[in-house]
């Protein structure tokens, strides 16, 4: 929980990503900046709902804003040098509109309420989404708000209607398995003139469980183990590969038919009840046959998914954790979570 989350950052436009922050190869100013950002973020309260106020909405002129400032200066000098009263009017009206635009820009985020919906568990290194609800209590719409995971630069744009709400999804890619706090999020707007950048940084309190990335091409499921204390322990060992299913034969009872498989593959497959009675499938950390903990967990994850697809009963044996063989969605989630938190 306390470990720094390993969010991989996409191409970043603003600021370095927290993941790369500690690396010693980063240049000194970058490191200072990253440290500042870490310190700054650690001060933000954790909350799944945030109402934006003056305290957490920041504003700075953008590059076009500085360009507008330079334009105003040139207009003013031209008006002075050519003594154009109408030039003064134009300059000051443009400046006035710019000031109003600054307030409009800040007001676009100020008063907005953001709520993070409970994030779904996900697999490491798989792109997934966080769902956020934006609520606008104002009588006018808030326009052109972009939300992203801080540092990724993958913005999702939305308008929030007047006195209504809107939902949006921001993409992120978790790097490591485990239970992690949801990464810091940021919302930004440059509406209406693009002359100011108004943004906020938000640290949700929710956590997200990240399962290990399933191995891409896992070997076949391990052989079944004879039931503890069973009479056929020895012969079961010799049957080799676990073979919990077989093609449907006429007369197989309905409850042995793998209906899920039928729905997916359009072929009738039955559980081998004899096998099932004699053997049980154990997915064992020690049997995963790979060096390295993460690689083994990846393989186990792939096996859990494969066994679940087949609909057979399977148990999971991890260092310090053991889940008894059974099947079903709840069991699968329990196994995956055990793999994630192991």
């Amino acid at each position: 929980m306390s470990a720094a989350p390993g969010w991989s950052a996409g191409p970043s436009s603003e600021g370095p990503s927290p993941a790369g922050a500690g690396s010693s190869t980063v240049a000194r100013p970058g490191r200072l900046r990253a440290r500042f950002q870490r310190w700054f973020q650690s001060r933000l309260p954790l909350s799944d709902t945030i109402t934006l106020t003056q305290r957490n909405v920041y504003i700075l002129p953008s590059r076009p804003g500085l360009m507008l400032g330079a334009t105003l200066l040139v207009l003013l000098v031209a008006s002075i040098n050519y003594q154009l009263n109408l030039g003064y009017l134009l300059t000051f009206l443009l400046a006035g509109s710019g000031v109003v635009a600054m307030h409009v820009c800040h007001g676009t985020l100020r008063g907005l309420r953001m709520h993070l919906l409970m994030p779904e568990p996900t697999y490491a290194r798989a792109t997934t989404t966080l769902e956020i609800q934006l609520t606008n209590e104002r009588r006018t719409a808030r326009r052109s708000i972009a939300v992203s995971v801080l540092g990724t630069g993958h913005w999702t744009w939305t308008d929030v209607p007047a006195q209504g709400n809107t939902r949006l999804q921001v993409a992120f890619q978790p790097g490591q398995r485990g239970r992690h706090p949801v990464p810091a999020l940021t919302a930004e707007t440059r509406y209406p003139l693009g002359t100011f950048r108004v943004w906020t940084v938000w640290r949700p309190a929710a956590t997200v469980v990240v399962y290990p990335a399933p191995e891409a091409r896992p070997p076949a499921l391990p052989p079944g183990e004879p039931r503890a204390g069973g009479a056929h322990a020895a012969s079961a060992q010799s049957t080799g590969e676990f073979d919990g299913v077989r093609a449907y034969r006429r007369g197989d009872p309905r409850k042995l038919v793998l209906w899920k498989k039928l729905a997916k593959a359009d072929e009738l497959i039955s559980r081998d009840s004899q096998q099932a009675q004699r053997h049980e499938l154990w997915l064992d950390f020690d049997q995963a046959g790979l060096p390295g903990k993460e690689a083994r967990l990846s393989r186990l994850c792939a096996w859990v998914l494969a066994a679940d697809r087949l609909g057979v009963d399977y148990g999971l044996r991890l260092p310090g954790v053991q889940l008894k063989p059974t099947s079903g969605a709840a069991h699968r989630l329990a196994c995956l979570e055990a793999l994630a938190l192991c």
């Binding site: 008006s79 040098n81 050519y82 009206l93 006035g96 509109s97 109003v100 409009v104 308008d159 209406p192």
Partner: protein, 675 residues
């Protein structure tokens, strides 16, 4: 058309809109740009529009660089320079239109917007009229709309959404503009401006070549406006004196030469009769001339300038008038000036006023000799000779015309003998030459004469077309005396102020046919509006600023006071903003506020109340933890009433408000328990 526009993809629609705005900005300048520039701008905009509609790719870098090189060359060819105002305007227009061919990144779009703002300003070099201002306001709204639209990222919102936001921003920005406009210190130009800065302005010049004033005759732009205190003097004395020209080189009338070591004669002005007081609003002429009604003994009241009067009664400022100025003056239409006797220094000076260059106008000199041979005129004094010449003008078949044609070498000869028609300057010039040939000191005076009164606001307007040239003749014993020979040729020009009308357009003709008065009235109203625009906006100068400060109670206002006042307003606005923010942060729904008060009272009484509990929940909790009794019942009843006020359908808003007020009163009367 609109449907087709709506059916376009968003990119194409936005591009077309921006192109239209740019065209609108460039349009008012078309008269001042070289022809190739206008043509190129139009072609590039049309090409860009077609690319957008057809969805074609933008031209390659080579194309754009070639176009840029061509335009730079053409600008150099047209203006002989790339610097200075006129070349700068041409370049900006060209760059703005060429930039539309290059729209790769957001930065490019912003460059277009900011160039557009600058191009708008260049319009004001040529005109600061109300119409220009209105056109540029539309242009500003257009550019802001395009900018807002570029930042509406989601979907395909109609342009009206962006227009509404832009209009609101401009509307809310207007007070800021007004404050800055009124209080921003007006300072002198930071550095010298190129000499072509004023070339767009026409008016009287320092010399008079025959034919010059005629070129002003069609110029309807306003030279100055006069507001008389009380009744205006008779129209026949409305002569506003400009440069006096006494040196003639055969082709051109020049101001008197000041010989080194020669002391200028004093004006020797004596005024008679009551003065006429008036206020003049003078359009910028880029000349140091103040036009006043003949003759002004006291300097015109124009703060910020040093004034001096020439011996020829002209008032000069210490620097050219590049801005509209307003000054008060009092004149005496009845006056005498100049030397009364031709003796001493005056004799030498007067000798200059009979000089004629050799080799010019031999027939006019012959005419003078012929007149002198007339026994009645042989030794006649100046007034008699003047009358004789005026008589010749009246009866000799001479005509007043706007289109006298080009004069040759002997301009006076041509007028007196060949053409027999001319504009005021021909007449005045020929008259003065003849008088000098008669050995009568005479000279040409230029200025404005006449004008027309605006029936709406009572201002007199003098236009460039009112520019006039007349003569002054020196009369022994009296001094310089005004003679207007044009009046002898065309009495209407001086007497009733009917100027020769330039041919009118179709619409104007139709209007006149419809109602002869209508056009005059329309014009009068328009002039009045324009005049107030000039008085309040264009004529807002440093002196007016300082006057404003004086009215606000500053004793010796300076521009530092302006800055201080401006800062004060900024601070005040910030404080108001901060207060508003504080207020915004607190709960300002009265019902919610009342509920919060009740919640606090219950919490003080020891009831555990959740932050978001509604009244009914509060009533339930109160019933649980407070001692049962009539007090608690009353409390619960009140809370349920509060709920009902909010959620029961109210008949009218007013009734609901009254009910809430009653509940607030009851709240104070309730006995809240204490823990």
């Amino acid at each position: 058309m609109l449907n087709r526009l709506n059916a376009l993809p968003r990119d194409a629609r936005d591009t077309l809109f921006l192109l239209a705005v740019i065209a609108w900005i460039v349009m008012p300048q078309v008269n001042h740009l070289p022809i190739w520039c206008t043509a190129l701008a139009a072609a590039v905009l049309a090409w860009r529009g077609w690319l957008a509609v057809a969805g074609r790719p933008l031209p390659s870098l080579g194309w754009r660089l070639a176009l840029l090189a061509v335009t730079l060359g053409a600008t150099l060819w047209s203006h002989r320079t790339l610097l200075g105002r006129d070349a700068g305007v041409t370049l900006i227009v060209v760059l703005l239109t060429l930039k539309t061919l290059e729209l790769r990144a957001r930065r490019d779009a912003f460059v277009i917007f900011f160039l557009g703002f600058f191009t708008m300003l260049t319009n004001f070099f040529f005109s600061q009229s109300l119409l220009t201002a209105a056109a540029m306001l539309v242009a500003l709204l257009g550019l802001l709309t395009a900018l807002v639209n570029a930042h509406l990222v989601v979907g395909r919102p109609p342009l009206t959404t962006a227009l509404k936001t832009a209009s609101w921003m401009a509307l809310l920005g207007a007070p800021i503009m007004a404050v800055l406009f009124v209080l921003f210190p007006r300072i002198a130009p930071l550095w010298g401006i190129p000499s072509d800065a004023m070339s767009g302005r026409s008016g009287l010049s320092a010399t008079m070549q025959v034919g010059h004033i005629a070129s002003l005759a069609l110029d309807g732009s306003v030279a100055m406006r006069i507001k008389f205190d009380g009744a205006p003097p008779p129209q026949s004395v409305l002569y506003f004196r400009g440069p006096v020209l006494s040196r003639f080189d055969g082709r051109e009338w020049l101001p008197p030469a000041v010989r080194p070591g020669q002391r200028e004669l004093p004006a020797n002005l004596n005024v008679l009769g009551p003065p006429v007081n008036y206020e003049v609003t003078l359009e910028p002429s880029n000349r140091p001339w103040l036009f006043v009604l003949d003759a002004t003994a006291q300097p015109p009241r124009l703060p910020g300038f040093e004034l001096r009067q020439t011996p020829h009664l002209q008032w000069l400022t210490n620097r050219p008038l590049t801005d509209i100025v307003r000054y008060g003056a009092s004149s005496h239409p009845d006056f005498r000036y100049g030397p009364t006797r031709a003796s001493g220094a005056a004799l030498i000076a007067l000798r200059d006023d009979v000089a004629l260059p050799a080799g010019y106008n031999p027939r006019t000199i012959e005419l003078a000799a012929e007149l002198r041979r007339d026994p009645a005129l042989a030794a006649a004094p100046a007034p008699v000779l003047v009358q004789a010449v005026l008589q010749r003008l009246r009866t000799g078949g001479y005509r007043y015309t706007l289109d006298p044609g080009v004069s040759g070498q002997h301009s006076a000869d041509e007028f007196w003998f060949d053409r027999r028609e001319g504009f005021c300057e021909h007449i005045a010039s020929a008259f003065v030459i003849l008088m000098r040939a008669l050995d009568v000191p005479a000279r040409v005076v230029t200025g404005y004469q006449g004008g027309e009164v605006n029936s709406v606001d009572g201002f007199w307007t003098l236009r460039q077309s009112d520019a006039h040239a007349w003569a002054e003749v020196w009369v022994d014993g009296t001094g310089w005396t005004r003679v207007d020979p044009t009046g002898a040729v065309s009495p209407g020009r001086i007497g009733t102020f009917q100027r020769l009308q330039a041919p009118q357009g179709v619409i104007a003709t139709a209007l006149v046919t419809l109602s002869p008065d209508l056009l005059a009235r329309l014009r009068a109203s328009w002039e009045a509006v324009n005049n107030s625009w000039n008085q309040w906006v264009l004529n807002y100068t440093q002196s007016k600023q300082l006057n404003l400060l004086k009215n606000l109670g500053f004793e010796t206002p300076s521009w530092e006071d302006l800055a201080r006042l401006l800062m004060g307003i900024v601070v005040l606005a910030s404080l108001v903003g901060a207060a508003w923010t504080l207020w915004e942060r607190t709960q300002h729904d009265p019902w919610l506020r009342l509920l919060a008060r009740a919640r606090r009272k219950l919490a003080a009484a020891g009831v555990a109340v959740p932050a978001q509990a509604p009244p009914r929940e509060l009533a339930r909790l109160a019933g649980q933890s407070l001692e049962p009794g009539p007090q608690t019942l009353a409390l619960q009843h009140w809370l349920l009433q509060l709920e009902q006020q909010r959620y029961a359908p109210a008949a009218a808003k007013a009734a609901a408000r009254q009910r809430l007020a009653a509940l607030r009163r009851e709240f104070r009367q309730l006995a809240w328990p204490h823990s």
